[in-house]
Amino acid sequence: MKRIILAFFTCYVACLVACKDNFLGIKPDQKLIVPQQLQEIQALLDNEIMYNNSPYMAEISSGDFWIEDARFQSLTDASKGAYLWQKNIYTNQLDYDWIYKYKQVFYANTALEAIQMLPADVKQQPLGLETKANALFYRAWAFFSLAQTFCQTYKKATSNSDLGIPLRLATAITQSSKRSSVEETYQQIINDLNLALPGLPKLPLKKTRPSKAAAYALLAKTYLIMQNYDLANLNAEAALAIQSELLNYNQINVNAAFPFAIFNTEVVFHNSMVLSTTFAQSRLFIEPTLYQSYHADDLRKKLFFVPSNNNISFKGSYLGSTTFFSGIATDELWLIKAETAIRKGKLTDGLEAINWLLKHRYATGTFTPYTGDNKEHILAVILKERRKELLFRGIRWSDLRRLNLEPMFQESLSRTMANVTYTLEPNSKRYVFPLPDNVIIISGMPQNER
């Protein structure tokens, strides 16, 4: 009897101990994935971090709007600082502009490293190439956005010595951050985009994903800031060759609370800005001179603006909500084409582009096309139209910075708060935002002078 029981015990226990099933290999959480497959890697790139929360502090500093004294008081300290171009703007507050964009870089790098681990045949298949191209584009987009806020604008003469942003090209947590030069920053953006181009589809499945059109467009934006007008023009043309359609504003309902639909036909690449309380319709009032500069027949006057608290506020976001659109749309491409053509001396091309755009903006039959042969004059007109078309898209700040390099386009911004007037002089050091304090403390990188 003893033996029977003993044998039974032994068999049972031995069986259980010996059963080396996958007991310890089971995922602790069924939802967890270790990104290894292309679909999983693409899922990382479809995270909203890749197309939401682009920098907003520079938009506050841009000067297209004003805030009443009473409403100013309820802003965050960082927003107050940015609004009045203060020296110190972060008082114990997190800098969303920095962390969101570097989080995007981390996602892109995680994807790139995961692709690197795949077998060669998987990497080379179209989906593999596309996924990699997507990651490269998103990284370039993040670096581009960061460069507009955290380093000086591109100046050929000093770009090798001006401080750029840290270019993190790997996920390694232990790797310390170092600041590159402005030249290296822009070269990295261009390299990533050129590498991405072959793998990208002409048009994307969803506008949150990059495409060839978007990559050419971003190259055009980049070269425009680098004042390389030839390449800016070339890339704008290349992008327009794929996607050029404009919305006819005559067909948009002016009475709608938010007239423009999300993912509308003009959108080349969807992106949204951090939604700051500063931008609430009840707070943000359009600079009166800017509002006055729209012609009565210009439909943008009704589609972009809305009366709010006895003033004028903004409703023209291409996201169809209070959140600002900060992606790329065809109107910007037409404007880049127009500006660069004029700068290159191709006045007819330039005028044709700007007139084509404005034809879609004015009430049918009311628009008188621009003509003339004075290059400076036409350029000034185009730049004025550029400001009127692209407001609250995170573009104005970059434009101010690059145009301040040309004495004839220099502008001095001023704002008044509690009877004190604050001014931002052209080429001021305040045109570069400081790096967040904790970044400086931990990494030891040099801070921007401000």
């Binding site: 009897m1 310890l24 995922k27 602790p28 270790v34 962390i99 995007q104 609370a257 009840s282 990494s443």
Partner: protein
């Protein structure tokens, strides 16, 4: 196998054949030579009882050597060898278990052993001690009686809410904080409140490594072993029954300092209004809700009402007190009934026990109630000699019905508090409308444009918003023990547990939530696109655990040597599944709902914006927690004087991946004990027992949020419809268990005849490889929430303390007894390694918790230095002795400038229990004290007051006129939001107070209805729990244990009846 079976058959046959052998008796006597009646004997598979003369007629057995077991309740079991046939009658004497009256047998979940054979720190709580208070949860009953258990309710708004428990101070920083709960040999993962305390036989707290290391990687936070009542052999039929009725005091909001009077608040609103504070809200496109009085002020400004009407309205509001409203219409005295019945019987070969418990609670919020029904059954069988089979099944069904309309849910949105003059029911007995979500002006304008009434009436919601929780827990446990040799036994245990929770959350079609959605999504044509009907959300949780354990036990006694060893293998699996889904347009009568709501289209909404329909709540989860463990334990005692113990355990888990498991190291412990009083030289009569114990060892812990690989989880983006992945944890290839090394020294002494008993212990815990956040450069891009940090095993924490247990029998006469129990436990923690930004100030002074600082306790509390108020009632702040702005001051604040107070959790706590017995009366009183800690009191924070209606009585003490700065620290009312001005005061040193206090925890009175001599007893008892705070160190008389509570702790009165047959 077949041969064995054949042999067995032959053996049986031979038994019946050997008939005609002379029969002999064995006689069983006690040590005083009195025959024992009813002793049970067992030989060769046959058993029986002795007769009144202590005699037992030997059964007819074939010749050979047999083993005979003789047992009788209260006596040591005797195992003897007999040669059959017996040549003469034989007498055996049984030794009484004199010592057993004092002997404590502890249970670790792996073995039961006399405390004398162990070296570790165990604390056993008997079921009688668990009766000190009559709460429904086992955890609440431990509160107070075990000083080394700290119950942390610093952030609880309900003083009787769930507490975080720590055994002997902290052992981890970011890992799991809770001690391991073991119920009947296996870890318990269900809702602890499902365990009926009346069904519990004993609770053992395993405090040091020698006690807890056998639980390995889960024992780092200490182990609480709960053993339910079990069937015992050799026991007469027993019945015990008890019934308890319970009433709790009503939550007294009037006694809470977190309040501002209606009149005071109305004045502030009037001033803010004059200052245009509400202007942007009034004009907002979002139609921000404003208070009823501000709406009156607007109407007055716009000439819609007269001055008189305004002051009349103001006087009307001033007469309302939301606290009284809530107490009158929302809260009540909670009451409960508890019944428990236990039946048991034990024979020689089998025993059984049945326990049945029922509880019914009417909770303190009106209409909220819960009940619990539990059935425990266990059975022990000895089918053949040496083989014991145990089967037990436990079933618990619990339900809870609640609405979520409480004091915190009367504000304009769920995150805000009610206006002090919020009314719930008017003079005519009509339920009042409370402003919510959008301004009353806007709602009036919209009448006729939207289909639904837009009013929020909290008291109407009570019956419309019902949440039912149905919980069931099934535990089935099988246990087979086989005694192969007298010294060697095998043990196999298997437990299956299933815990199910079903949440049925129905918001009726007429709830504010549904009406609001309908209105919000109303289109220009006046028709809403929001599905009309109720909103049903159902959630199903299922937790299954499968535990298997095989164990070999070896026990040998050789004159002076006693050896007890065990080794085993264990396999545990815990699978948690959760599924939750919401439905729109639900109709409870026909079970119909909108099958395909259009969640993609964006609709214009009132009052502003374009929105998709809100996504119905949905959840889906599937977690698996697998463990494999090998364990061993050894105890050796020489001459009853010297005991040595050792234990070891290796754990492997699916959390880490295969690589880690291969290099896992054992967690182990060693211990030694010396019973000095057993030595020949020990002559002292005054001290009858003296024992020294020392142990050292390791146990483990884990932070489940960290994984070895880059892991991500999926979701589906609403906007794009694409599947996306979220990185939940970046790769961490160096991940491992957290380890806690504990050293423990104890001294145990006892006076003659147990007149006094003393245990003095010192422990030193050193937690290593703790997972800690390392702040990293945000540029790296590893961001969870908004913080840039990374988790690594690098932090270290040390905790040490002294514990004293003292029991005194002051008077011990036949009719009058007076016993005193006095327990003190101290613990001091110190962070040894942790990485943080030296200059970082964020979070150091907010709330009750603090950032971690090396060299300070884990729960350090800091504050901002206070320099008093200036001549205008503003807090003074300086940078380098120069006046500055609040923003600049706060921006430059560094950790080193802050005032360090001490720990925010008690470092010393203890109790004093006095028990008096006079004839049939028993009276017992327990006082608790806690000391050596600080808490941050709440005070007036103007920003919170203006934006969230969070008031505080300190408002009445504020600076009002020059000169007040000499008398008060409360800043003057400032009509502009200035967060940093508030922060400088609220978090200043003047608001950190000493936590020391003495509390009268409970009073117990019982009366025995029959005489003490009778075997059957019946008594009635009365007990009062949470009687009062007797003394507090802080002048404000605030209860330091509940700094965040909405009302003072509730007193519980219980009256009950107990019967034992």
């Amino acid at each position: 196998m077949n041969r064995a079976l054949l042999l067995f058959m032959l053996l049986l046959a031979s038994l019946t054949l050997n008939a005609q052998i002379l029969t002999r008796h064995v006689k069983i006597m006690d040590s005083t030579n009195k025959p024992i009646d009813g002793a049970s004997l067992e030989i060769g598979g046959i058993s029986g009882l002795t007769n009144t003369n202590g005699q037992f007629l030997m059964p007819k057995l074939s010749s050979g050597v047999y083993q005979m077991r003789i047992s009788y309740q209260g006596y040591q079991m005797l195992v003897v060898k007999l040669i059959i046939p017996l040549t003469s009658d034989t007498i055996f004497r049984l030794n009484p278990l004199v010592k057993q009256l004092n002997e404590v047998v502890i249970s670790t979940g792996y073995y039961n052993q006399s405390v004398e054979k162990t070296t570790g720190s165990f604390l056993q709580i008997k079921s009688s001690e668990l009766q000190r208070n009559a709460s429904s949860g086992i955890v609440q009953r431990l509160e107070g009686i075990v000083p080394s258990l700290n119950f942390d309710r610093r952030s609880q708004q309900e003083p009787n809410g769930e507490a975080k428990i720590r055994v002997r101070g902290p052992s981890t920083i970011n890992g799991e904080q809770d001690p391991l709960i073991v119920l009947d040999n296996f870890p318990f993962y269900g809702d602890i409140n499902l365990i009926n305390p009346d069904q519990i036989e004993s609770v053992t707290v395993l405090k040091d490594a020698a006690a807890a290391s056998i639980w390995g990687a889960k024992a780092g936070n200490g182990v609480i072993v709960i053993t339910t009542k079990q069937a015992a052999l050799h026991q007469n039929f027993k019945l015990s029954f008890n019934a308890v009725g319970q009433v709790k005091s009503k939550p007294n909001f009037l006694a809470s300092p977190n309040y501002i009077s209606s009149a005071g608040y109305l004045d502030i609103e009037q001033q803010l209004f004059a200052n245009n504070y509400y202007l942007s809200s009034e004009q907002s496109t979002g139609k921000t809700v404003l208070s009823p009085f501000v709406e009156q002020l607007i109407a007055h400004r716009d000439g819609l009402i007269t001055d008189e009407a305004l002051s009349l309205a103001k006087a009307g509001f001033a007469a309302i007190d939301v606290r009284k409203e809530a107490m009158n219409y929302l809260y009540r005295q909670a009451s409960a009934q508890r019944y428990n019945l236990n039946l048991s019987n034990g024979g020689i070969k089998s025993s059984w026990m049945i326990g049945l418990g029922y509880d019914k609670d009417d909770l303190q919020l009106v209409q909220n109630k819960s009940d619990r029904l539990g059935l425990n059954m266990n059975l022990r069988l000895i089918p053949i000699n040496g083989l014991t089979i145990g089967i037990s099944s436990n079933l618990t069904l619990a339900s809870k019905q609640r609405h979520d309309i409480d004091f915190n849910n009367l504000g304009t949105v769920s995150s805000k508090k009610a206006f002090p003059y919020t009314q719930l029911r008017d003079q005519d007995g009509k339920n009042s409308v409370v402003s919510r979500l959008y301004s009353d002006r806007y709602k009036r304008q919209m009448i006729g444009k939207v289909p639904e009434n837009w009013d929020y009436v909290p008291l109407d919601e009570l019956s419309l918003k019902q949440i039912h929780n149905l919980n069931s827990n099934v535990r089935l446990l099988g246990n087979i023990n086989y005694q192969l040799l007298p010294s060697l036994s095998f043990d196999v245990k298997y437990q299956f547990q299933e815990d199910r929770l079903e949440i049925h959350n129905l918001r009726d079609r007429n709830t504010f939530e549904v009406r609001n959605y309908i209105n919000q999504y109303t289109q220009a044509n006046g028709v809403s696109v929001f599905p009309v009907g109720g909103i049903l959300y159902q959630e199903y949780h299922k937790v299954n655990s499968y535990n298997f354990r095989a164990q070999v036990n070896y026990n040998k006694m050789l004159q002076r040597h006693q050896l007890a060893a065990l080794a085993g293998y264990e396999r545990n699996s815990l699978i948690t599944k959760m599924d939750g889904f919401g439905r729109y347009g639900y109709d409870d009568n026909s079970l119909t709902y909108v099958l395909r709501p259009d969640l993609n289209t964006r609709y214009p909404t009132y009052p502003t914006g374009n929105l998709q329909l809100p996504l119905p709540d949905n959840k889906l989860e599937h977690l698996t927690d697998n463990y494999l463990s090998y364990f061993a334990n050894l105890s050796y005692t020489y001459k009853n004087r010297y005991t040595f113990t050792g234990s070891g355990r290796i754990d492997a888990s699916n959390l880490f991946g295969v690589d880690f498991n291969q290099k896992s190291v054992p967690l182990w412990s060693v211990g030694a004990a010396w019973s000095i009083s057993q030595e020949a030289f020990w002559q002292s009569k005054a001290i009858s027992k003296l024992r020294l114990q020392a142990t050292y060892g390791y146990s483990g812990n884990i932070d489940k949020s960290v994984t070895a690989f880059t892991t991500a989880s999926y979701g589906v983006n609403q906007l794009t419809g694409l599947r996306f992945a979220n990185i939940t944890s970046p790769a961490n290839s160096n991940l491992k268990w957290e380890k806690v090394a504990t050293g423990n020294l104890s001294l145990i002494a006892e006076g003659a005849q147990g007149k006094w008993h003393l245990k003095l212990e010192y422990f030193n815990k050193r937690a290593e490889d703790l997972i800690g956040d390392i702040p990293i450069d945000p540029t790296v891009g590893v961001i969870s929430g908004l913080a840039s940090s990374y988790k690594l095993n690098y932090a270290q924490l040390a905790t040490n303390g002294i514990e004293l247990e003292l029991a005194l029998r002051v008077i011990d006469r036949k009719d009058f007894k007076w016993n005193i129990g006095f327990n003190v436990a101290s613990n001091r923690s110190k962070v040894l390694a942790y990485d943080y930004l030296e200059d970082g100030y964020l979070g150091v002074t907010s709330g009750q918790t603090a950032s971690i600082t090396i060299g300070k306790p884990l729960d350090a509390i800091y504050s901002i230095p206070w320099h008093g108020l200036d001549g205008r009632g503003n807090p003074k702040v300086f940078i380098n002795n120069v006046d500055t702005t609040y923003n600049a001051y706060v921006a430059q604040l560094k950790r080193s400038q802050l005032v360090y107070h001490g720990s925010s959790l008690p470092t010393v706590s203890g109790n004093l229990v006095n028990t008096l017995v006079y004839k049939r009366f028993q009276f017992s009183v327990q006082a608790l004290f806690k000391s050596g800690y600080y808490f941050r009191k709440k005070t007036i924070d103007y920003t919170s007051l203006f934006t969230n209606q969070i008031g505080h009585q300190d408002y009445n003490l504020r600076w009002q006129k020059p000169g007040d700065e000499l008398l008060t620290n409360v800043p003057a009312l400032s009509l502009v939001n200035n967060t940093n001005r508030d922060l400088v005061y609220v978090n200043s040193e003047v608001n950190v107070l000493k936590g020391d206090h003495i509390r009268l925890k409970d009073i117990n009175f019982s009366y025995l209805l029959n005489t003490r001599k009778s075997k059957h007893t019946a008594n009635i008892f009365l007990n009062i729990d949470n009687v009062a705070l007797v003394w507090v160190a802080n002048k404000e008389k605030l209860d330091p244990d509940f700094p965040s509570a909405l009302y003072p702790n509730l007193t519980t009165y219980s009256i009950g009846f107990k019967l034992n047959l």
